[in-house]
């Protein structure tokens, strides 16, 4: 790792701490957030040439504080008193990140910031962008590049998000206990969206953008560190690690999708799998089970199978059945149909899929058609399978997926489907395993 990387990592670690301290001193989340961005930019320009200051956190606080004051001076005389307080070295908040009682305020600040950026008044895209900037310490340009949108779009999205937070009257404090679980759920959802946006890009030519998955894992790791007793936080971190471990095998040299059953498993990241499994083992049973822990357990069963044929499908089916009870939804039904087909044959899976045809949320979704196509192919009904593949290809918004589905359809156009010499017939066969290869079902 070179010096620039180390500086970048340090800056992003310090970003939420500095922002938290500033907001506690002055309120005004939006102005403070801009000031911290300016300080981060100044540091990124100066530190590589001049060296990292002895107390980098104080340096950033000082520069951000000055930028805040400059803004206020330009603003109005009304803020003069606050400006004086901001420059006062004996100001209300200590700079070291430890309050008078020796309490680690940085930890709390980062958590409160996460809650604030994932405020329910914001739309998910705004929550994502704001979280990545204010907590992740990414620049607007970096976020724009990660989401493949113009920088101006992200800049407006962030400024509108901050405006909304102000209008909603949100304060820089933890959510009140009755709302805490629900608000933590939103935070986890945002982190998972960041991960998925990176892992299965919702649009565009590339299937994965690793910088977003890495950032999602970093932030979830941070959250797990702050809240080690929360089973679902640990579960989400395990799920991300166990999913990301398969990254290198998910696409071939040309960037085309490789389904789970065809992946070269020696390319899977064993360190990531071990960490995810250890985390999951320590968590399961020690706190109330939740959807992230269950999905992590399913990912672990896949990751621990040395070959597709070794996959413990009955266990996966059992896990999906629990998941369907605690977090029912069409996407869970879809995945459960795959597991059901692997255990009890394609007809059983198709029957369960049929229950989704009348579900408004799923009826025209490409994944329903894609799963149906695979199960029909597994059942030997190539003509119907081909139609379903084509229908799925027409409705998907992912280019790699469209290519994959089109190719599957074309293969069924051949006189003899040469997919697997021994896969069709009475045994469930590894076809349905391919479905999980897109990893979109969660």
């Amino acid at each position: 790792m070179n010096a620039d990387h180390r500086i970048g990592d340090l800056l992003r670690e310090l970003a939420p701490q500095v922002l938290g301290t500033l907001v506690r001193r002055h309120g005004q989340f939006d102005a403070c957030e801009d000031a911290v961005q300016e300080a981060l930019l100044a540091a990124a320009l100066q530190w590589p040439a001049q060296g990292v200051p002895e107390r980098p956190r104080s340096w950033l606080l000082r520069v951000a504080g000055r930028s805040l004051v400059d803004g206020w001076r330009a603003d109005s005389a009304r803020r003069r008193r606050e400006a004086a307080a901001a420059l006062d070295p004996a100001g209300p908040a200590p700079a070291a990140g430890v309050d008078d009682n020796g309490h680690d305020t940085d930890r709390d600040d980062t958590l409160v910031l996460l809650f604030l950026c994932c405020h329910p008044a914001l739309s998910p895209p705004s929550q994502l962008a704001l979280t990545l900037r204010a907590v992740g310490g990414l620049s607007t340009a970096q976020i724009a590049a990660a989401f493949l949108v113009p920088e101006a779009t992200i800049a407006r999205r962030i400024s509108r998000a901050k405006q909304r937070i102000r209008q909603a009257g949100a304060r820089f404090e933890p959510p009140p206990p009755p709302q805490r679980t629900q608000r933590l759920g939103v935070v986890l959802q945002v982190l998972y969206l960041v991960f998925n946006e990176g892992y299965t890009t919702s649009s565009g030519p590339a299937l994965q953008r690793t910088e977003l998955t890495a950032e999602a894992i970093r932030l979830t790791r941070l959250l797990h560190h702050l809240l080690p007793g929360e089973g679902e936080v640990a579960g989400l971190l395990a799920l991300m690690l166990l999913t990301d471990a398969r990254r290198a095998a998910r696409t071939d040299a040309d960037g085309a999708i490789v389904p789970l059953a065809e992946q070269h498993r020696q390319l899977w990241d064993t360190a990531g799998i071990s960490e995810g499994v250890a985390l999951l083992t320590a968590t399961l049973g020690s706190s109330p089970v939740g959807p992230y822990q269950l999905q992590a357990a399913i990912a672990a069963v896949h990751d621990e199978a040395p070959t597709p044929e070794d996959t413990d499908w009955p266990q996966i089916l059992a896990l999906y059945q629990v998941l369907a009870q605690i977090a029912p939804g069409p996407v869970v039904t879809l995945s459960r149909a795959v597991a059901l087909a692997m255990v009890h044959g394609p007809k059983a899976g198709l029957a369960l899929l049929g229950t989704l045809d009348t579900d408004e949320r799923m009826a025209h979704h490409h994944r329903l058609e894609a799963v149906r196509a695979h199960l029909l192919e597994q059942a030997g009904d190539t003509a119907a399978a081909r139609q379903s593949y084509l229908q799925a290809a027409k409705t998907t918004t992912s280019l790699p997926e469209q290519r994959y589905l089109t190719l599957r359809a074309a293969r069924l156009h051949q006189p003899i489907p040469p997919l697997l010499p021994d896969g069709l017939g009475a045994t469930p066969g590894p076809y349905a395993g391919r479905l999980t290869g897109t990893d979109r079902r969660r």
Binding site: P205, G255, K394, T395, A410
Partner: protein, 121 residues
């Protein structure tokens, strides 16, 4: 100079009856060309659009805008994807020709006008 190179047709019109080998070859060509244009710094933007069958068309009907399902043009004439490249006309035609040589399906090359201050991707 910037040019838009446009590709037409949906799955039904261009891909449905091709062999897997043909489709794989087509994907390889597109990926290769994409990489080449990016590495040469020639591409300004490139996007594929979802299948034209998923389009909505808004028409002025009975005095009000009314959205209906389906594309404006016929599916085989609908825009399927585009590159915007910063090259001269000869090179833009050369890029399009390489795709047409494989697909045997027409592409359109058209200059982008000046004075367009929309944010560049």
């Amino acid at each position: 100079m910037k040019y838009m190179i446009m590709m037409f047709g949906g799955l039904g019109a261009t891909l449905q009856d091709r062999t897997p080998e043909w489709i794989s070859g087509m994907h390889e060509l597109m990926m290769k060309l994409d990489t080449e244009l990016k590495e040469a710094g020639e591409v300004v933007a490139s996007h594929g659009l979802v299948d034209p069958s998923q389009a909505k068309t808004v028409r002025f009907t009975g005095g009000v805008p009314v959205p209906t399902d389906g594309p404006f043009a016929e599916i085989k004439e609908s825009l399927a994807g585009y590159w915007i490249v910063d090259v001269d006309e000869e090179r833009a035609i050369d890029i399009a020709s390489r795709v047409v040589a494989y697909t045997e399906y027409p592409m359109e090359v058209r200059r982008i006008m000046h004075g367009d201050d929309a944010p560049q991707l």
